[in-house]
């Protein structure tokens, strides 16, 4: 009995590993830089350093060839950016001043574009955007409340990010609701969606499909991976009556295994989706938005509406809600709980992948986007009530809005720290979450 189970688990682990490796085995060719044509890849790079505010993170830059955008980048936590361009040539580099954090501005506000940046064969080109001086906030600047314009734009971004976090959180909450597993590897499901989408749409050896097709396939494959995980890893462990904490530790191990496997294949650069590299913003009155934000929001809203419809109107939805409410009761009233759990894994993983794709469309693909989103996702899920079906939606929106609006007053570095802080405070007052029911002890 025991050895049979062990065999099953070993076999399961092997298959999971192989599936991951097979799914990604093609990507290394894309990122391997030694000796293949990809080596010719050159980039325009630099660092944004403001004398007053230090390293400037999250600023969007793009490289243009003629009028066509050929590459984009967002400055990282060290203020550094690296725009990969197709090859040697003369480019223009444009910095998006709307993405500069509050108080930081260009030394010459007109100079958002650098003309005639010559990139030579095999040599990365450094460019400099001068920041500062004018950026020094005057005392009355600090005291003045944020202008309507900024508030509107932060609200808008918060809404978009909130929907993305909500999408990514549903799987975590449902899996917890139906199996009591707190899945620390959920962030890696988010990353997987983005990486697969990148491979199919923008990878140098990938098929180069449009992002919509590539995204659909990435979502489907991630759903499949969710099913594989459930069948080969989590179900055997649950059948063995593994306790909650052991399960959490296994998921932590799985998260590390997946995450660092991703880096080996994908490298540690931020890469944009080919088609969504950079977009000229639309200006609607006080609101400056990017078309890709609108697409992400629309898809998110439609998918969430579908999710709610399935949950409310179908037998399956009723079964899912019943199982996450009380597993034993659901089982004894004839619901096939094993099947419900499998469906929850597939749907949750697919939604997480969609969340990852959306986030990557906005901010670029990176090997650890899921891990960096994991704590905000946890915050969203706990805020809404762990295990509830609609909690993640409320929680996700709250986290998105809080983190984006906080940048009006405090540096953007603290974005997610506020979300986590809010989470701790909420748990102090209302441990069961916003939508959860208090649990009786004993």
């Amino acid at each position: 009995m025991k050895s049979d189970l062990a065999q099953r688990l070993v076999r399961g682990a092997m298959v999971v590993l192989l599936a991951v490796l097979a799914g990604l085995a093609v990507i290394p060719v894309a990122s391997a830089q030694e000796g293949d044509p990809a080596e010719a890849e050159v980039a325009i790079f630099g660092a944004l350093d403001d004398a007053e505010h230090g390293l400037v993170e999250g600023v969007e830059l793009e490289a243009l060839l003629g009028e066509e955008v050929v590459g984009t980048a967002t400055s990282d936590e060290n203020g550094e950016f690296r725009i990969v361009v197709p090859g040697p040539g003369t480019y223009r580099v444009r910095l998006d001043p709307t993405t500069l954090p509050e108080g930081v501005s260009l030394r010459d506000p007109e100079r958002t574009e650098l003309e005639a940046v010559r990139v030579l064969e095999g040599r990365d080109k450094r460019v400099v955007f001068a920041l500062g001086e004018r950026a020094r906030p005057r005392p009355d600047d600090v005291a003045r409340p944020p202008s309507g314009n900024r508030v509107v734009n932060r609200l808008w971004t918060g809404l978009v990010v909130g929907i993305v976090i909500a999408l990514s959180s549903i799987g975590l909450s449902l899996v917890f609701g139906t199996t009591r597993l707190v899945n620390f590897a959920h962030g890696e499901m988010v990353t997987l969606g983005a990486l697969l989408g990148w491979f199919f749409s923008s990878g140098t050896v990938g098929p180069g499909w449009s992002l919509f097709i590539a995204g659909a396939i990435a979502v489907a494959l991630s759903g499949l991976f969710g099913a594989v995980q459930d069948r080969l890893l989590w179900r055997p462990l649950l059948d063995r009556r593994t306790d909650l904490i052991s399960l959490m530790i296994v998921s932590i191990g799985l998260a590390m295994l997946l995450r660092y496997t991703f880096t080996v294949f994908f490298g540690s650069n931020v890469r944009p989706f080919r088609e969504y590299a950079a977009q000229a913003p639309w200006v609607w009155g006080p609101l400056v938005l990017r078309p890709k934000q609108l697409v992400v929001l629309a898809i998110g809203v439609v998918v969430i509406a579908l999710y709610a419809l399935v949950l409310q109107k179908t037998r399956l939805g009723t079964a899912i809600r019943a199982t996450s409410d009380n597993r034993d009761l659901a089982e004894s009233s004839g619901i096939n709980v094993t099947r419900v759990v499998l469906i929850v894994w597939v749907a949750g993983s697919a939604l997480a992948a969609l969340g990852g794709l959306s986030f990557a469309t906005l901010y670029g693909v990176e090997w650890d986007i899921g891990f960096r989103l994991l704590l905000p996702i946890f915050a969203a899920v706990v805020l809404g009530g762990l295990g509830t079906a609609y909690g993640p939606l409320v929680g996700g929106l709250a986290i998105g809005l809080v983190s984006e609006l906080s940048t009006l007053w405090v540096p953007a570095e603290f974005k997610f720290a506020w979300a986590l802080f809010g989470l701790i405070i909420l748990l102090l007052i209302r441990p069961q979450g916003l939508l959860g029911r208090p649990e009786r002890v004993g």
């Binding site: 230090g54 530790i249 590390m256 295994l257 880096t263 986590l420």
Partner: protein, 328 residues
Amino acid sequence: MDLVQVLTDGLRAAVGVPAIAYALAVIGLNVHFGYTGLFNIGQIGFLAAGAYGAGISASLWGWPLPLAILAGVVAAVLLGLLLGLPALRLRAEYLAIVTISASEIIRITVRSTSVEGVTGGPQGIGRWASSFYDINPIPSGKYGIGRIAFNHRELWVMLVGWALVALAVLVTWLLVRSPWGRVLRSIRDDEDAARSLGKNVYAFKVQSLVYGGVLGALAGLLLAINANYTTPGEYQTVFTFYMYVALILGGIGKLFGPVLGSMLFWFTLQATDVLLRQLIQPGSWAATYIEQRDIGQLRLALVGLALMLLVIFRPQGVLGGRSPGKAQ
């Protein structure tokens, strides 16, 4: 392939400063998780509290080192009390999320450029522990056998470190066999029963969190003093997970488990690294699949795999401790 090098480098790591620091931090984690059943996955936050508490008071306020170290320990006590307030009344999964969130808040805060004047921002605080080396009694030179050798500076840190580990094991031993320790174990085994016997479960949990956190702070201090530097990059959440690997390896709820587990962990980590580097020489068969620069990542992926396999197949660790489930 040079297996001697694999073994000697592994052994060197097993007695080196990182292993000592992990031993200290994991003894603390063992008090939390192994004896009290608190699933704290933000232990790295206590290391940060210790290192930054000392680093800030030494560099910013110019406190002498002993006082600065004390400040680091006090910072950890405060963190324990502060964290205990929301976290300890919660179920295991919420406690886990709150502790990891708190450690991440600390890292984000000290890394922020807006407090650069205090914490040094992304660059951290350097050279605040130099006076530790001024009182080094060991004459300069190299000590050891063959490849397993350390210079007088390393040896001084190691000497102090191992002394601390010995002290921590002794104190923990005295504590867990005292009536206080019995209450901790009863909380772990059945919290409601302990409560119904009139024990103030909450107070005991706070005390456990603070004691284990102070051991974590000592670990952070040791690492920072060894590097004579404190940077936010050293306090990533993932390091707490390494500590759990060490804890489970050595055996949860065993007195010497954390020490053994940390030594084993660092031995394996270093030995695998050397082994992989030897395998992936340019031109070898393995190099066609994996590049040298990926070894670091690959090693971490293997740590993750090891963590999964350990919990699934040998949750009681190498010596035979409690399984994580029973520890709750």
